[in-house]
């Protein structure tokens, strides 16, 4: 039932090139999920999130200092190895320093027809962020129009908003099923679903979601749900790790990843000023920690997720050297543990040593699930 998503996830490059041939449209690679997808769809562009390949590589050291996160180096390696040569353009919505460096090296060494650095504000808790981002989206829209050689009408934008909002609603409905005592889908399948949405045509993705929602009610998995876990932290599209965790008599029932709920949790609320509506959606969405100040808005949101999906424990992962998440980590773990949710911390690299991590996760599960042998 989720094979389609897995296929899109695995053959992302083939899909994008086939889409180009089929539609004659432009494909735009992007970093970080604060980019306004609504406008790109309005311009008939296929937005494709650039992710790593989880393979050791030796091409990025001349460009990025080794102590920057493995994710930003892995992403740059894909560009330098020519795996994204089919992209017509590339953009970034400003968030953390590390991925910004990947964008800087990319535009310097891999020629692009179109490149754009969107000054997404960090001050998402000041009211002045709304008019500011609205202004930035206006400038971005003009740059898009110049690139595609036509204007983007309000009707186009409404269609863009409608398609992306629908995708968000449908994915949220699928996530609802994960609240059940024995969820009819695994954490791995959910990851394939959400991440594939970041790299394929949203209308096709919506159709696939509709079909899944038809079959989910009567789907029964021949596996023991076991311990209900939540997974939080930095960018994480490591399906190998998630697969391993769910072989240890446990299930990942919910997450707070930008490859998960943070990507689709809130919708654009329709209003006349379309750009302001889009700006508000990205300012009010569950924030990346680099923007979560002066107050920590993430924590009550995460606690609510943990309660709604009645989570028993939390795996808190982080890309090595990832400052935004490292800075939130102590307070986040304390908050969860004070609310009765034990946590275990893991540091990710470009490849994850499954042997060692299996021991750590298994031992974590033993602390509250081991039969009484004492």
């Amino acid at each position: 039932m989720f094979e389609k998503f897995k296929e899109w996830f695995t053959d992302r490059h083939d899909y994008a090139q086939a889409w180009k041939k089929r539609t004659g449209g432009k494909v735009l690679g992007y970093f970080c999920t604060y980019i306004p997808e609504e406008l790109l769809i309005a311009a008939d562009i296929l937005p494709v999130r650039i992710l790593g390949s989880h393979q050791a590589q030796d091409v990025t050291e001349p460009h990025i200092f080794g102590m920057f996160c493995p994710f930003c180096r892995d992403c740059l390696a894909q560009g330098l190895k020519g795996r994204y040569d089919y992209l017509n353009g590339i953009m970034i919505a400003q968030s953390c320093l590390h991925i910004r460096q990947t964008y800087n090296s990319w535009i310097k060494h891999i020629p692009q027809e179109f490149s754009y650095y969107l000054y997404m504000p960090h001050g998402v808790q000041t009211p002045h962020a709304y008019p500011y981002l609205r202004g930035e989206l206006e400038v971005f829209k003009q740059a898009l129009e110049k690139w595609i050689g036509r204007s983007i009408s309000d009707k186009d934008i409404d269609r863009g908003i409608e398609v992306v909002n629908k995708n968000r609603q449908l994915m949220k409905k699928v996530y609802e099923y994960r609240k059940q005592e024995n969820p009819p889908l695994t954490g791995l399948e959910a990851m394939y679903m959400v991440v594939s949405s970041q790299m394929v045509d949203k209308e096709e993705h919506n159709q696939a979601l509709e079909e899944v929602l038809k079959e989910l009610p009567n789907r029964k998995l021949e596996r023991n749900t076991g311990t209900r876990l939540m997974i939080l932290g930095s960018e994480d599209d490591d399906t190998e790790f998630v697969k391993m965790v769910e072989t240890l008599d446990s299930t990942l029932v919910v997450d707070d990843h930008c490859t998960g709920t943070r990507y689709f949790w809130n919708e654009v609320e329709i209003q006349d000023d379309r750009l302001l509506a889009i700006a508000a959606r990205y300012i009010d969405r569950p924030p990346c920690p680099s923007k979560d100040w002066p107050d920590r808005k993430r924590f009550p949101h995460i606690l609510q997720l943990a309660k709604d999906y009645n989570v028993q424990g939390a795996l808190v992962i982080q890309q090595k050297f990832c400052d935004p998440h490292e800075l939130d980590m102590p307070a986040l773990r304390q908050m969860l543990e004070e609310n009765g949710i034990p946590t275990y911390f893991l540091e990710f690299d470009v490849t994850v040593p499954i042997g060692q991590f299996k021991t750590r996760v298994e031992a974590f599960l033993e602390t509250f699930a081991l039969p009484d042998l004492f």
């Binding site: 050791a56 990025t60 050291e61 080794g66 690299d349 490849t351 040593p353 042997g355 060692q356």
Partner: protein, 258 residues
């Protein structure tokens, strides 16, 4: 004119005696206990082989020593400086000389006269290249000399984390426990080091011809991994671990002529 070059490696002290442009003797001793003893042992070994006495030596230059004690020799030269000088002597077309020892790895770019144009040293996360192979040979219960030949018999390339030797070690342990064939593990180990060394050389830029020196150049598996990683032919001179000492001896001659 007879000069001596001394190279203080992490594991071994190497000595080369040069008569004009002919290497007359080589000597080596475990750095182990004490630098003075090790240097004396290595020099005596070389002098005996060349049937010479210390008095016959016109000038001694060392390399590999920090700015600390320079009391064995008249002066010192950096390893990359020595490698550049020796590299072009061993292979006239050599323009990139890569030196991988027990602890450190470095590379130098030079012109046809052997003068240095640029150099790189391994990043901290990539330290311990040579020692890593030895530690892993114990884990695989394979004799160190066999690690290279075995890795050439690999049937599959197992990718391994390239950023840190310690973590690569723990991944090897996982491969052992998943019964991955030894040949494939041996290759994964060599590829892991080669990736880090190639990563460093890319900072320098790869200008042919490439010469690989240092203790690990004996390991045919590592040389093969380096060829695949760099994508160019990799030349290995005779006695690769003596090249820095040979370079120091050459520099000693230049300094006397000046």
């Amino acid at each position: 004119m007879i000069t001596i070059g001394i190279d203080f490696g992490a594991k071994n002290v190497k000595v080369v005696i040069l008569n004009d442009d002919k290497i007359v003797a080589r000597g080596s001793a475990l750095t182990g206990f004490d630098l003075k003893i090790a240097t004396k042992a290595a020099s005596e070994m070389a002098l005996k082989a060349a049937e010479l006495k210390i008095e016959d030596i016109v000038h001694i230059t060392e390399t590999g020593i920090g700015q600390g004690s320079v009391d064995f020799a008249a002066d010192s030269v950096s390893e990359v400086g020595a490698n550049a000088k020796a590299g072009v002597k061993l292979l006239a077309t050599a323009r990139t000389i890569i030196d991988v020892g027990a602890e450190e790895a470095r590379a130098v770019k030079c012109d046809e006269t052997g003068s240095m144009e640029d150099f790189v040293v391994n990043e901290r996360c990539a330290a311990g290249a040579g020692a890593f192979v030895e530690a892993m040979s114990r884990a695989l219960e394979v004799e160190l000399g066999q690690m290279g030949p075995m890795s050439l018999k690999a049937t599959d390339a197992v990718p391994m984390n390239a950023q840190c030797t310690v973590f690569a070690e723990s991944e090897v342990v996982s491969l052992i426990h998943n019964q991955t064939p030894k040949a494939n593990i041996a290759r994964a180990i060599h590829d892991a080091i080669a990736e880090r060394v190639v990563s460093m050389v890319r900072r320098l830029g790869i200008t042919e011809a490439v010469l690989l020196i240092g203790g690990l150049a004996y390991d045919v598996g590592f040389v093969d991994s380096m060829k695949r990683g760099l994508g160019v032919e990799v030349h290995v001179p005779e006695f690769p671990e003596y090249v820095s000492a040979y370079g120091a001896a050459l520099v000693a001659q230049e300094r006397v002529k000046k």
